[in-house]
């Protein structure tokens, strides 16, 4: 059984691994040509639920940073803006994906009488926007990721 560094709090470890899983899941789900429609849709729905949990786990940060936005030199303004854009893009991407679902919704015996190319285009557009924003979202936290990763893996390798 691998030993985990006691210096990394359990909550930090949860955030680290959960976010890593979301990133991998997003990368796979975006690669529609890799997964095919069935995996793409189910993975997309799972990602939607995971994202709700992700935002909930970081809700304190959202509230704290939003309150500090009016300060002239708030440190997290750029991150806040990127996250807001990502929230919009990701939510619309998952929602439009559900609306145009061909496999998952029928499987759940839900039928939406939608035959509107608008949602197809929203899905494509927001997916492409998220591909630009997700790596930025990750990279703006690279010091935290590097720090937690170093502490976690250093102890595991011992």
């Amino acid at each position: 059984v691998p030993v985990v560094s006691p210096s990394v709090p359990a909550r930090t470890r949860l955030d680290f691994w959960f976010d890593a899983v979301i990133l991998v899941g997003y990368t796979v789900a975006y690669s529609y040509g890799f997964t095919g429609v069935v995996i793409h849709e189910w993975l997309g729905i799972a990602l939607g639920i995971a994202l709700l949990l992700h935002i909930t786990l970081h809700w304190d940060w959202v509230v704290r940073t939003t309150r500090r936005l009016l300060r002239p030199r708030g440190p997290d303004k750029l991150i806040w803006l990127v996250n807001l854009a990502l929230l919009f893009a990701m939510t619309l991407c998952v929602a439009s994906g559900i609306l145009i679902s061909r496999v998952a919704l029928p499987e759940l015996r839900i039928s939406l009488p939608l035959d509107d190319p608008f949602w197809d285009r929203v899905h494509t557009l927001t997916a492409e926007v998220t591909l630009g924003l997700v790596p930025v979202h990750v990279a703006l936290r690279w010091r935290w990721i590097a720090g937690v990763g170093r502490r976690t893996f250093a102890r595991r390798l011992r």
Partner: protein
């Protein structure tokens, strides 16, 4: 209770965003114009692609599965490892890696400059022990 309250807040925010999307659809449904087809339907071998848009080139060797009566082909997990499909995954991973690397380099540069600026103290006069004016 606190967690549930946070979940409710997140759901409210997400609902607002979805409502904005629905309003967009209602008030400006033609904002995308009529050009271009939906979705990245051009890559797949044996799985998702059931049609190719006009003008899209299909790589030699790529087969399109027309699917059953529903038009949805069954899952064939073996197909995921086909080079033509793996290339799509690598492509996504490369784009992400490139953007991450670019942002990290820019961010590190900014931090380094900021640190250097903070570390640079104003020149001291002879005998002065600090930068505040002496009376």
């Amino acid at each position: 209770v606190r967690f549930l309250r946070q979940v409710a807040a997140v759901l409210a925010v997400v609902t607002v965003v979805v409502l904005i999307g629905l309003a967009w659809h209602h008030f400006a449904p033609g904002s995308f114009g009529d050009q271009g087809g939906p979705g990245p339907h051009r890559f797949v071998r044996g799985q998702a692609a059931t049609a190719v848009h006009r003008g899209v080139k299909v790589t030699p060797g790529v087969e399109l599965n027309r699917g059953g009566p529903s038009g949805v082909p069954p899952i064939q997990l073996g197909d995921l490892l086909e080079p033509v499909n793996l290339a799509v995954l690598w492509n996504t991973a490369w784009i992400e890696a490139a953007v991450i690397a670019a942002v990290v380099i820019v961010d590190a540069g900014f931090r380094k400059r900021r640190r250097a600026r903070r570390g640079r103290k104003p020149p001291l006069r002879d005998g002065a022990s600090c930068s505040t004016p002496q009376r």
